[in-house]
Structure formats: structure tokens, C-alpha cells
Point group: D2
Chain length 356, copies 4
């Protein structure tokens, strides 16, 4: 196969199918044919909000599982024909940022994010993966494509939100935003020892999954400010941890800080946009002396992360397929799936597209 077809961002605000040359497979790399993909809100940000600036004919998508079509001469553990889970983030593991402990930030800030950012993404007949041994995980027996494709970004990002949130065993957590990432954060909070999990959101389908993933109380942010509702529900105490997986830059952060106990943690997993600055309310933050920490992060990638998340699914700690609300079949349906993500109907969490 010399060329491949892919669904691309043609330029800002415009998508379409393109035909491109199959990328060269470097000695450490692999070429993969996707068998299942899923569009992400980031794809929407990229095309219609200019989140990463302009791109020309860049194939979209960074959530995929697939089959290895080609491997480089130095690849040791991955073979042609292997069914693989492809992390959305594929770090350069020998870079200095990885040595410092931050593989998602390799080569440059956010540099572990390559698909549909620096290079063509996974919404095509073929795509390129750097450092195949380090970045591809073999699909284990017993895991479906639909389940596995939810791990590569949604679970990895959302659960990182909980890992960064310093949740004490038996502690309380507020998750703001219950799209697929927020829901994964809820699952992560339940898996990491939270007792009370407050989920701020309104869409019925998300509310349902939030409860299945472990939320103990739903907060409808339309009824009153989130912090007021949290303070009331906790007898004024506030929560140990807040995970921000949605909202805006106007009032979400203020409500988050105002919901947190002194000594608590605010963990961001939201791809922030819409204003130049995040506003941390001074008084609620204890004039900078409240011991409230604010953390963030980019989705962890790499083989080991995927293997561990797969074990969580296989041991039934949580079910990734709860996130999948819409199923398409055939490469060409990627377009429909992406526009569904853009339109965000009431009953949508995540669509997937099975290929072949």
C-alpha cells in the first residue's frame, strides 16, 4: 500500500477525505491499520476552535486499536500481525523529560501528543507509531475493540485526574464535568479509595454512567453554584479533592477552589480554552496559604499504562464500554462519528467506529 485514505482537517473549520502517502516506518517504529477508532472532543477543538492553530490536510484522530502492518528493523517485541492498543500519547522515552518523570512532556511541552497534532492521526487506513516497543501494548485476550479504544485517552486521562488528586482512603471527591473524561475520573476516584463522589453534570445518560462508575451524589450546577451545593452536602466541610473535567474559565475554577477543604487538591484534566487566564480566587485560596494544591497533567501514554488499564477492565474493576453510546461500522463512517461528536446530542457519551 503506497497511499492511504484518511479523514482530515483540511484547514481550520473544514474537514474532508484525503489521500496521502503511507509514512515511512523508521527502524524503531510501526505502521498500524486501525480496526476501531473513536473521535474525541479534542478533534472538535482542533478543527473548529483552532485549539492548536491551523493545520493543512492533517488526518484527525488519536484513539485507536489496530493491527500492525509493518515494523522497523530494531523493533523487538512487536510483530507484523499483532493486534495492539495504541495510546493517544506516544512519548519519546529516551528524552530528558521522561528521565525527569514526565514522559507526556517529552521533546517539548505536551510533546508526547503526536497523533493529529504534529503528525497524521489514526482516522485513516494506516498510521505511524513511534517507538513501537515502548508505545504499543498487545491486545490481551478477552478485551473487545470497543473497550480497548476507551482506554487510550478517556480512561488514561480521566483516571490520571484521580491519581493526581491526592484522594485519601475514604475521602470525598468532586468531579466537575461528566463527559467521557469526567466519567473516567469518577471511575478512577472510586478505584483510588474515594468514598463520597459528587458529580457535577446534568445529561441523563452521563448521570446514569456516573452512578454506575461510583458517583454517590449528582450536583446539578444549574440549580445553584457548585460550591454552595458541595458545602451544604458536606456540612460546610468541603471536599478533599476536586477534579476539573469540564466547565469554563469564568466561574468553574472559583467554584472548585471554594469547594475544597484547606489541605485539599484540585486536579485539572480539562483541555482549557476560552480565555487567556485561569482565575484562582484569592480569598477562597486562603490568600495563598490554604495548602490547597493545584495540579494538572497530560494523558499518560506508553505500553505499561495501556497494559495496566487493560487489567482493570479484565478484572472487572470498571467497564470501559459504559462510555460507548454509539457504534458505527466502516472507515467512511468516521465522518459521521466526528460530526456526531461535534453536535453532541443528548444521548451521546462516545461513538466508536469499527473498521473492516
Amino acid at each position: 500500500m503506497a497511499t492511504f485514505k484518511g479523514f482530515a482537517m483540511k484547514k481550520l473549520n473544514e474537514t474532508g477525505w484525503v489521500e496521502k502517502e503511507v509514512p515511512e516506518c523508521g527502524p524503531l517504529d510501526a505502521i498500524v491499520r486501525p480496526t476501531c477508532v473513536s473521535p474525541c472532543t479534542s478533534d472538535i477543538h482542533t478543527v473548529w476552535e483552532g485549539a492548536i492553530g491551523d493545520r493543512k490536510d492533517m488526518v484527525l484522530g488519536h484513539e485507536a486499536v489496530g493491527v500492525v502492518e509493518e515494523v522497523g528493523s530494531l523493533v523487538k517485541n512487536i510483530k507484523v500481525g499483532d493486534k495492539v492498543i495504541v495510546p493517544a500519547i506516544t512519548p519519546d522515552w529516551d528524552d530528558e523529560a521522561a528521565q525527569r518523570g514526565y514522559p507526556s512532556q517529552t521533546t517539548e511541552p505536551l510533546g508526547g501528543w503526536k497523533f493529529s497534532n504534529f503528525k497524521d492521526g489514526v482516522f485513516g487506513e494506516r498510521f505511524h507509531v513511534n517507538l513501537a516497543d515502548a508505545n504499543l501494548a498487545l491486545m490481551p485476550e478477552g478485551l473487545t475493540d470497543e473497550a480497548a479504544v476507551m482506554l487510550v485517552d478517556m480512561w488514561s486521562t480521566g483516571m490520571m485526574g484521580s491519581e493526581n488528586a491526592n484522594i485519601p482512603l475514604g475521602g470525598s471527591v468532586l468531579v466537575i464535568g461528566i463527559g467521557a473524561v469526567g466519567l473516567s475520573a469518577i471511575a478512577g476516584a472510586a478505584l483510588l479509595g474515594a468514598a463520597d463522589i459528587y458529580a457535577a453534570g446534568t445529561r441523563p445518560i452521563s448521570v446514569k454512567v456516573a452512578k454506575e462508575y461510583g458517583a454517590t451524589e449528582i450536583i446539578n450546577y444549574r440549580e445553584a453554584p457548585i460550591d454552595e451545593q458541595v458545602r451544604e452536602a458536606t456540612d460546610g466541610a468541603g471536599v478533599d479533592s476536586v477534579i476539573i473535567a469540564g466547565g469554563n474559565l469564568t466561574n468553574t475554577w472559583k467554584e472548585a477552589v471554594a469547594s475544597t477543604k484547606a489541605g485539599g487538591t484540585i486536579s485539572n484534566v480539562n483541555y482549557l480554552s476560552g480565555a487567556d487566564d485561569v482565575l484562582i480566587p484569592r480569598v477562597e485560596w486562603g490568600c495563598g496559604m490554604s495548602n490547597i494544591n493545584i495540579t494538572n497533567g497530560l494523558c499518560p501514554g506508553g505500553r505499561v499504562r495501556m497494559e495496566r488499564l487493560a487489567r482493570l477492565a479484565l478484572t472487572n474493576r470498571a467497564d470501559p464500554e459504559l462510555l460507548v453510546t454509539h457504534r458505527f461500522k466502516g472507515l467512511e463512517k468516521i465522518e459521521d462519528a466526528l460530526y456526531l461528536m461535534k453536535d453532541k446530542p443528548k444521548d451521546l457519551i462516545k461513538p466508536i467506529v469499527k473498521i473492516d
Copy 2:
């Protein structure tokens, strides 16, 4: 009430009922009447194995819930008549070890453990609690006595084993020993992000609860050395974390170290006895260069710990009552319950005694 009746260690190897004066209630303290208690293996160690040396007419027991009968003049939050959860460990929170972050080690090593160690325990009509505000948790609505009495030592100790075990999200854990503490460690591992949980034990009742608490595979240590079975189950990789909640000082530690990945953690919650030294196998420990850490700890006590564990029960993260296999009624039945614990019949995990 000027005197109270209690079931005591009269001296090494001898138990019996004693009549003692009700202790004075210091200005910061409380006197509590137990409504439910449970004997612990430590009580057996204390009486029949001389684990803490000789004691004369010391009332036994350190697991209780009860009702406050008297409070000191400086106690602010606890009132006479309050139903309370009494942690087995009641630290001196203003001591230097608490300021260093180790409240269970206040005033002296293991000094947070006072009941049936330095002073009369909870197996009587009344008992004394130091620092009532800091050490007593109000019994929340919806929690039974039977459930709550499982939190004060079993859950707190066992789950500490998991908290100390540095379990990665989606990681693998081996729990050696599935008595009540080991089972609580399993529940803790599942609550703290473990995927695969290997439980080494044989008693059917414990095996059943181990699975209900989240164990994914049972290892019968009689069939082959534990490490051989773990290595086989993990394709040679070993586990990320081992929690030692049973076994002996002859070969358990060797098997634990040999089961652990380089970079893994071994977390002890077993009250060690039976030999002068713990033997860490040199070669399996990588000649001291394997990055395998060994941690231990004494059951965390205090009000906040109890409140958080209660929240875990109330939000149905796990059910403490699964540990309770035998139920007695009436103060005088403490004797039967303790001897049951000593005899350890096949169908026993923990007995409790309800006191009117």
C-alpha cells in the same frame, strides 16, 4: 458506677473475670460503655504467647463501639450519651511523633496502642479513652455496631497495608494470609487501584470473602511455594506489591521478596513473632539494589480515620460485616468469643459480642 467487671488476662496463660475501679476521667478524656466488642488475634498473642510480656489482671480487648458515659471538663465535641466508634489506636496527638507524621508511635514506639497493652482494654462494663475529641468518632446513621467494630482495627490495619504498598493503578498485588486483617488488605487493595489481587490462603470461609473483597486468584500455599505460583501466574514478572498479613518468619518473607518485581514494595501488617529476626533473602533482594522497599506500620487510629472508614462502608465501597462470622450476645459471652478466637475453627473469621 464505682467498680466495673471485665474479662482480663490474669497473668500469662490465664484469663478470668475481674472487678476493678472505674478509671478516673481526666479533663480531656471519656469513659465509655461498650455496646459491641470483638476479640482480636492480638489478644491471643498477649495472653498465650507473651507477646507484650506479662500483665496482671489487665482487662483485654481493643475493638469496640459504645456509648459515652462521662466526659472530661475540657472535652468539646463529645457528649455523654453519644454513640461512638472507638479506634483500637488512640494517639497522643500533641506528641512529637504525631508532629513528625506518625501518630501511632506517640510517646514511645507503638505507644498509640493503649487498650489491653498499657491500660485496661474494652472487654469490661466501662473503659477509659484518652483525648476524647481527637479519638472518638460519632457513630453515623446507617452503620451497625457489627460493621463499625470491624473498622477500628481490622479495616484500619489491613487497609493501611494497602496504603503502604505503593500499588500502581491497575497493578498487581499479592496478599499473604487471609485472616481478617489480610482480607481487609484485599479490600484495601481493590479500593486503591489494584487490578490483579492474588490471595494466599486456604480456609474456605476466608477464600469466599477474599473473592467478595476483590481477590482475583487464590493461591494455596500448601501446593507449592507462593513465589513459584506467583511467578507462574504473572509470566515470570512477579507482582508490584506484596502485603504480608500472615505466615511465619521462616519462609514467608523469602517467598514475599521472591514474588516481587524490582521496584516493587513489600508492606507488612503482621504482628511478627516466633523468631528473633526477619530474614530478607539477599539474592532475591537484588543484593540490596533491587529498589524493592519494605514498609510496615501500626494500625492508624483517631477520629478522622474512623470517619473515613465509616464513609467507605456507608457508600458501599466494601462491606465490613463480611468479616463477622460469629455473633454472641451479653457481656459474659466475651469469654466464649475469645476462646473461639483462640481455637480458630474452620468457619471463623471474626466473632463479635453485642452487649445489650
Copy 3:
């Protein structure tokens, strides 16, 4: 002594001497006569900027060493006549926030700060200390009053800034603001493994002490934005850690974030004022995905903290007296010392007042 004289905030923008009743010494408390005190920038904020709102006839000051004049009936380790170091922050160690690991936040956010906030401070002939055993440290042999009084807030706060900054061994640190707290942060950074320490400030006396405490390069923020200078000095890499000990809410935080590597930490020790919000620049913060954490804290208090800082001074790891630039003698000179702090002449870091 039934009454005592103290230098007080009479109301907003007004100070003066007051005569008040000596406070009652509760059973766990102590009454102390100061032998050396030091005014703090916070006192200035309190009186002339309304930082904590209005107060009436509240004795100022929270930095002192002194002699114990009276102890409560339950105090065990502190005796009348003991020379003691008095931490600026005196937590309620049995409170739930202390059990959660945040003693400075006990009873309410920032609640460990009592002197010249909730109750009369140390600028009088006598002052009251809660929980004497837990909060007073015996003055060790070999430590001067001048040195010790620099530990209670300046060192404890500044060095906390470094402890919270996640400095890797051999890493790089930027300290913004080189007043007494910033200088202590520099000393802390050098003590906690930093190699390169960039200090942003201009006053010659502070620059001199910054270098003595371990700063390797001075950044004059008047010449160019701090982040530009840091990026240039680090070949574009930025620093591992930033400690904010000064500046404003207009551009300091923007420069701080822009100076930090992905994966780095920003640690605040500045008592923030002057605007409603702290502005975190969205793009420089990696749209919330840079793994740049933001931490803050309130000065750690208590006996153990004071003892440890005293050991640092006594083992010559750093010299607290380098901070003392002006010395007064006599209780009545507190007024001059405070106004000196208010006027902040060029050659001032900290004044102290010896009493008796």
C-alpha cells in the same frame, strides 16, 4: 501581674500602646514573657492594608522567643522559667485538619495562625500560648535570641516554600522576591538539593544575603521580564521549581509559570493581596496539561518544627542572623521597629527588639 502593656492595632490604620488584662492560662496553656520579638510584613498588612479586616486594640506581633511565666495544670514538659522558642503558628494538634496532615489549617482555614490574628500577639509584656507542650520548643544552648526569632516565621515559611517546591537533587530554582521570606526560601532551596538558584530582586542588602544563602544568579526584574531572563540563563529550558515570595498579582504569576519547565512546580509563600484573583496564564500553563503543579501553604508551626530549624542553625547549615539588619533594645522600641518595617528603608531586612 494582672495587666500588661502591649503595642496594638487600635483599629485600621492606627496603632498605639494598650493596657490589657493578662490572659487566663488554661490547663494546657502557658503565659510567656517575650525576651526578643520581631515585626513582620504581615503586621503591616494587618494594620495598614486591612488584610484580615478590622481589629480593635489587638496586640500585634507573632515572632518571639521568651521565658515561661505560668503553665497550666496539665502541661507536662514545659516549666515556669523555661526559655522557649514560640512558633508563629500554634496549631490545635488534636483537630481533624492536623489528623489529615495540615496542622496549620486546624479549626478553620489558616486557623493555626492565632497571634495578632484571633488573639493578642507577642508585642506585649505577656502573651498566651495554646497547647504549651506541643507548641513551645525549649531554647537550645548555643542559639541566640536574635537567631531563634528568625526561625519562628521567616525560616519556617520560607523553607516550607522550598519543601513544597519538589526540587530535584541538582535541580534549578527561581525565587521571586528576596525579602526575609524569599531569602529563607533560598537558604531552604540550597539545603534541599538545588544547584542553580536564581533570585529575582534588587535591594543590595538582600542581594548580598541571597548570595550568602546560596543564590547563584541574581535577576533584576527591572531590566526585563523575569521569565525572559530565566529562559535565557537556562538555554530555554526553564527551571524545575519556582518559589513565589513577593511580586504582585498583575504579572508575577505569569512570569512564574512562563519560567517553569513542563513537569515543574510553583510554590507560593507570598501572602497574596491586591486583587481578587491569581491569574494563571492558560497557554504557558500548557492549556492545563503541562504537569506544572501549583502549591501553597501556611507557615508550619509546633515544637518539632522549631527544634528541627534550630538544629539547622546549630549545625551551621545556614545562619538565621544574616536576616537581622536592625537591632533595638527595650519593649517600648517595638513601635520604632514596626514603623521601620513599614517604611522599609534600603538597608532593612528584619529588625529585632531585645526586651529586658
Copy 4:
């Protein structure tokens, strides 16, 4: 150059010069010509104590700086002619153990240690380095060869001992063994916030450097058990942290545990040999409930580690050359240097060999 000369372990208990083919330079690798090397006690263990089993004609040595002679086709940042610092440990950064956070344990336990273990070491005219970009650090201006060669194993290992020791700021540390690694641990403890540093050792040259690196008190272990002396020096309290950098498996560990506070940490950096088991004294370890953690590790390697240690030297935080007591010149003098290390005369810490 088709062949190179090297000083080798010919077999157990026998050394000698060998002539071998220059290894092939893989696409990611480099071939380096050493300009300065240093023998290590491990080389002695390897040859005369069979520590890693038998080896045939394996070139010894793992401490070197040198000049790059050849680089593979995929190497990006390292060029022929570059002067480089070569870490003793050269991890496979894309391996799963590195992704788990333990690069020194890549491919197998201790697998990051390749030189003079799995492959020819650095005591020859040429040697091979895997993953040149990730593992070689450019020699910075201002650093001598003698200084740099002390970083690659001695400082990296010894300071890791301190990093793993959980030293509180202002805390107390005991370092057992004051050879080059123990001395580096002392330097590390001083750099990581220790106040009191007790150094157990006797050789005058080491005692001198121990004090220069920050030891505050020397303990002569011949006079009385170490723990007795530590307890006396600390008024019975014990120390916060113990670093084991020497001693034996008979009584050193018992003394280490007995010297440690409840809640303290014991950090091993000693390459353990001489018995099958490390003995942890049960009672002193609080019957497994003392909160005393035991950690170990293998020397951290890689480019970033070397760069950071170099910055510590260049900013004068500590002087690596203090470790160098003997200087040789010329490749052939490696033999003398190694035998000097074997004989360990009184005035020796570390010899180095400059190779023009």
C-alpha cells in the same frame, strides 16, 4: 581501530590484559575512548569474591569519562569528538521498568548495570554505550575529568542513599560506612536538609572528608555498638534516617534498626554480600509495626542524572574531587589502581587513572 586493549577479569580471581575486537556501534549507540577512569570496590567484588559469578575475559570498570569516537545512525544529540560523562548505569529507557519508574532495573533486575557485568567495561581503549542520546551527558565547561568521574557511580549511588532516606528538613541521619559511597551519602544528606549527620567509620582520611562533606559527629564503631552511641548522642531518641553504606550482614542491620526512631527510614546503598540473608531484628523493628521503612536502590544512571550532579559540583554545593586520593597516568596504570583498591591502604578513598 579494529581491536582494543583492555584490563580484564580473565576468570574468577584472575585479572590481566586482553585484546578484543572493538564492539559494533548499533544505530542508537556510541563508541567511547576513556580519558579518565576509576576502579570501584564492585570491581574487586566481581573478580575476587565472585559477586556476579564467573566471567571470562571481561574488561572491568564502569566509572569513566571520555571522548566519543563513533555514533550510530540514529543518534541525534551526541557527536563524534564530544567529551562526555558516562554514567555507570545505562538504562534501556524504553523498557517497561523505566515506564514503571525504575530505569536502573530495566530488562531485568539490576539490568541497567551493563559495564563489567553483562558486557565489557570501561578499562580499555574503547567501550560501547547503549542509547547514546539518553545515556551520555556532555562534559560541561569547568568540570575536571577527576571530578566528573566521581559523579558516575560514587555520587550517584551515595546521594541516592540520601534521596531514599526520607530525611526531614533539620532531621538527623546516621551514615554507616564512610568509603567513597558513604561519604557521598553524607554529602547528599547535607544537601537534602539534614542537620545532624552521624558518620560511623574510623579511617582518618575518610573522617576528614566526612567532616568536609557535612558530618557533624564521628562514631567509632570499635568503641561500642553504633546504636548505643547514637542513642546516647540523641538523648535516646535515635535518628530519623540511617544510610547503610558499609558494614556486614552479621550485626550492621541490627545496629541500624536499633538506631532508628519509630517512623524513620533505613536506606541501603551497600552491595550486600557475605551471607544468605539480611537479618532485621524483630523486636527493634517494633514486631513489624514501628513504621520504620527499609529502602534500597541501584545507582541512578542516564544523562539527566549526570547533568544534575554536574550542576551540584559546578555550583560548589559539594566538591567531588575530595574523594580522589590517588592519581595515576596512562592506560596501563589501571592495573596498579585496581590493585590499590584491592589492598585498600589507610590513605585511600578513590584512585583515578588519567588516560591522556
